[in-house]
Amino acid sequence: MKDCAGLLVRRAGERLFIAAHVARHLVPSPRLSRLPWDSAQMALVGGEVVAVVELSEASGILVLCDISGQAVALSGLVALEVGFWPESEGGVRVNGEHVPALDLVAALAQFQTQRVEQVEQKDAP
């Protein structure tokens, strides 16, 4: 069983794993700007404007991720630890306990669905 390098985070009491090739950097949360008629937020990080996906209540930091070549910042996560842990089914094993990997695709899909729902609600007569 090979070791996986990555970042352990906590979201609303649940521990989750983000692989090191996805989690690029941690930054103190900058000022977030909400887009009009949308739940999406934007932030200026290192001179670059990035989309911010809100996964939970703000924790004071953003986890900058590389998702399919796009820089996306995740808010609402608390960074716990960085390390190498043995791979387990859909995650890693930390001190004998299974920690699932953060499902970024699902999070993004949920975010996009919410966005569509919001637009639809606003357009409804």
């Binding site: 070791d3 390098a5 990555g6 970042l7 090191a20 090739h21 989690a23 690029r24 950097h25 941690l26 930054v27 103190p28 004071g60 930091i61 960074a79 630890e81 960085v82 390390g83 190498f84």
Partner: protein
């Protein structure tokens, strides 16, 4: 009616008048002493009030220092949190490098992060202690303020007491003067007469005692005692009238 009472007062035996005047003197003197004591206590109260005000000032300055300390602790906390992020980022870089190259970086980042976490915990503890101190300081300030208010009231009461003692002293002085005029006698003369009367009584007692032990002729004794006894008896009707 006024004449009658005047005559009663004038008929007051000098010894009685002297005793009344002496009592008045004693009351006046006591009142003067009370006034002086009240004044000293008022000064003490004012000094105590000034000290309480100074203590309140010191407490307020302490509160301002506490706020400064809390602000600087906030800065330290923010710096430690930033440093923790830096340690995590160093660890992430090491994790991306992979084993075995990046392992050392991950471990070092982890160690630094743990140390910083201990620093943050200690800071939290300091912050809690500071909050407790602040609460105690606020309680002490409130108690001091109450004490200062009580001291103000006490000083005011003492001041009023001192004024009243001075007024009483003045009134007693006037009363004494008036009574001296009403008794129609000088206070010093009345005191001397009272003293003479006491001496006559003592002398009479001594002569009677002597007659029991020494062979003094009855006629001689009568000759000696009669004028003295007459003098003492002459006082009695006037005292009975009172």
């Amino acid at each position: 009616m006024t004449d009658g009472s005047d005559s009663n007062v004038r008929a007051l035996p000098p010894a009685r008048a002297a005793r009344i005047l002496a009592a008045l003197d004693a009351v006046a003197s006591s009142s003067a002493r009370l006034g002086k004591n009240q004044k000293a206590t008022t000064e003490l109260g004012a000094r105590q009030q000034a000290e309480l005000d100074a203590a309140l000032d010191a407490q307020q300055k302490l509160g301002a220092r506490g706020r400064d300390l809390r602000n600087s602790m906030q800065l330290v906390r923010e710096s430690l949190e930033r440093a923790k992020l830096t340690a995590l980022n160093a660890g992430l870089e090491g994790a991306r490098l992979g084993e075995p190259v990046g392992k050392a970086l991950v471990m070092m980042g982890d160690e630094v992060r743990n140390l910083l976490a201990r620093g943050v915990d200690a800071l939290e503890e300091h912050s809690t202690l500071l909050s407790e101190m602040d609460r105690e300081r606020e309680r002490a300030t409130a108690e001091l303020a109450e004490l200062a208010e009580s001291a103000t009231k006490l000083a005011s009461e003492l001041n009023r007491g001192a004024e009243q003692a001075l007024l009483t002293h003045a009134l007693l002085g006037e009363l004494r003067k008036d009574l001296g005029e009403v008794f129609g006698t000088d206070a010093e003369a009345a005191r001397l007469m009272a003293s003479s009367e006491a001496q006559v009584r003592t002398l009479t007692d001594l002569l009677l005692e002597l007659s029991e032990h020494a062979p003094i002729g009855l006629d001689t004794l009568r000759e000696l005692l009669e004028p003295l006894l007459a003098l003492v008896e002459a006082r009695k009707p006037a005292e009975r009238e009172l």
